[in-house]
Subunit: 408 residues, 2 copies
């Protein structure tokens, strides 16, 4: 992609109407644009990052047998009345459809997926099953001032699983825990993301949040440094110790919740009378699990934790482009040739081909945008290419072959 | 994918609450499920088709320089007041956000994209630009009884282009016309989809719809069989002849509108005072085009036009799986081995491994689902595989190598 053509504009200053570091950076660098509080649009750079995050999540959900579906945002009042949440869920957006029909915009999809699965699952032979979607959700948040970290409209991966018995749910829950660990690893978040015990509702002692440690996080958690797990604020007053080893020296930290997994038990199958016939021909309520993970919030979290005074430092796996090729020569010819070569090799490059921009401005904009691999072509490096990885200090001179080898 | 695991259920009968043939077929075959009138959920089979359609559109939009973005559904009242459409657009879903703020759900995105582009485009050097999204839209349709053909919540590709002058828009418009032709070709719709003249509003004599001929279509068009273009009902009273050749013998046909392209001129840039500075340092209003195409409606259209008494006949390019492998032997071992081999070759197969289903039921379900290439393994064919293409009569016996060669 030629940077001269890219639909974006970096801002000279941080936007004044943003509080979160990530929102300041993402808006300033041309990744996202705020339409209103808690509602953002993704520009080409931002959508590339979001799509890469979503693809990583998709692959790991497929790997644990999740089947991708797509449920609607528009939902009839009746399904929300079945669970009582029409009245109790204060963040539910409500609206009127044709014929003055009461509708909601889905903030979560238990009320949709349960009656859907009920049309498909009848027997123990149909179990277990897991379906997920990566979809846009809506929550009427009274305060939405943290950019992508707390949106009124946001992207969500929500998986729902269906089981014949508790043991099967327990086993699947562990399997998904491992899939989540893989996702944090692929996103470069594994070292700072901890499984956090939270209260579990009626059907399970605990649920689990995945919390990414971050000094500016909204949540407070208490980390057991022996077990690498944590307890959330709500639960700590009850437990006062690590639920895994009993350690009472827990360290209070700030964090951002990036995922949440929950054993729903029969809460929703009961509300919809969703039963299956077991091996003994007896009717039983289906046992359910749910597994949330917010791609847009993950994107905000990455920008919140991986940055320096110059800008964002994306993990390579979600960098909007693999490489940023910057021409500082007067003539763009050499850079253009190398760009063509990189494209031919299937390497996804942003090429700063702009002619009326100073070298200093190009380089500081590259740091702000934060693409992983920076390649500079200038008079002073001659035939060589100056290579630098974003966030590292070392600069290397490489020839074209070496650069291609590194990036392929 | 093992069919025994697939999240779907075919219905023995056509659903009684559907009128459109496509909705009857898609619901019965387990592609989609109706949550309420005009609001459908996509099951794994359905989402696969939808994603393939969207990917074809994405590739062709990228090929004409479109840059993908993602704009929100939730939109503030103010932007809709700028164009007067808060009051005039009767299908606009309206709702209240936190603090009793008036919001709309986007049925189209001119009101969003214009002020967005205004933050990025300032000079003739920033022009032309084209951005598009593939996103979920909302329209409060009073009657929504045609399945995916007229949804209250539906998928839409909407591209918006920005130009310094009319000539540039005209050239780009022709380029996108060609991209649309390619899309119809890749979807197998080219022979039955005609560019249709429609009224153009203030800034252009005509707009164009792409209409797929279909006896059950809601629209009426008048086809010039010489030029392979048509005129829509609205415009025909004015024109009374083919706008390209003057032919007055136009043939009245029913059709489904699958795309719509429009020269917006300065209608929206004027409403938002969106100007750029030209070569002579003069401020001028930006000239805009918009290019719509509905992936979910296309999916409905394909099912509406490509079917027989047995079920759906997908074009190969959007078939939910490349091949449907059906085991009719008592033992699944041979089929399982061949399935593993196909997977290893990177061929995407649905494998009917079910043991408690009759041969007749498996085959009629395969016809209903309508995957392009059917592969049957049975006692009577021995080592060979019975190959049949959906919609064709001929059955061939092939060995494994031949099948792989055909599908790769």
């Amino acid at each position: 992609m030629l940077q001269s053509q890219l639909f974006y504009k970096t801002l000279k200053e941080f936007p004044k109407d943003e509080e979160a570091v990530s929102a300041k950076l993402l808006v300033r660098a041309g990744y996202i644009d705020k339409l209103m509080a808690g509602v953002y649009q993704f520009l080409p750079l931002g959508l590339r990052v979001l799509q890469k995050i979503e693809q990583i999540i998709r692959e790991e959900m497929n790997a644990v047998g999740g089947q991708e579906i797509l449920m609607p945002a528009l939902q009839p009042k009746e399904i929300w009345e079945r669970t009582g949440r029409w009245e109790t869920l204060d963040i539910l957006f409500k609206l009127k459809g044709a014929g003055e029909k009461d509708l909601a915009l889905g903030p979560t999809h238990e009320e949709t997926v349960t009656p859907l699965a009920q049309k498909i699952i009848f027997s123990y032979k149909d179990l277990p099953k897991a379906v997920y979607q990566i979809q846009t959700k809506f929550r009427n948040e009274p305060r939405a001032k943290s950019g992508l970290l707390r949106g009124r409209e946001f992207r969500m991966k929500d998986m729902y699983s269906f089981h014949a018995n508790q043991k099967d749910l327990d086993q699947y829950y562990e399997k998904v825990e491992k899939a989540y660990e893989k996702i944090w690893e692929r996103l470069g978040l594994d070292k700072i993301t901890v499984k956090t015990y939270a209260s579990g509702g009626t059907f399970s002692k605990y649920s689990h949040e995945y919390q990414t440690l971050c000094v500016t996080g909204e949540d407070t958690i208490f980390v057991c440094e022996k077990c690498r797990v944590a307890v959330n604020k709500e639960l700590i007053n009850e437990l006062k110790a690590c639920p895994e080893c009993g350690n009472k020296n827990l360290v209070e930290k700030k964090a951002i919740e990036v995922g949440n997994i929950f054993k729903l038990g029969t809460k929703f199958s009961n509300a919809f009378n969703f039963k299956f016939v077991d091996e003994k021909n007896q009717e039983q309520l289906v046992i359910m699990g749910c597994f949330g993970l917010g791609p847009s919030r993950v994107m905000g979290t990455l920008a919140e934790v991986f940055n320096d005074e110059k800008g964002i430092i994306w993990p390579e796996s979600v960098s909007p482009f693999q490489a940023h090729l910057i021409n500082l020569k007067k003539d763009t010819k050499d850079a253009q040739n190398f760009y063509n070569q990189l494209m031919k090799e299937g390497i996804d490059v942003l090429f700063d081909d702009r002619e009326d921009i100073s070298a200093g401005q190009k380089l500081s904009e590259a740091d702000l945008i934060g693409i992983t691999h920076r390649l500079v072509i200038s008079e002073k490096t001659g035939d060589k290419i100056e290579y630098k990885k974003r966030g590292e200090k070392e600069v290397k001179l490489m020839n074209e072959k070496e650069v291609i080898k590194l990036l392929k």
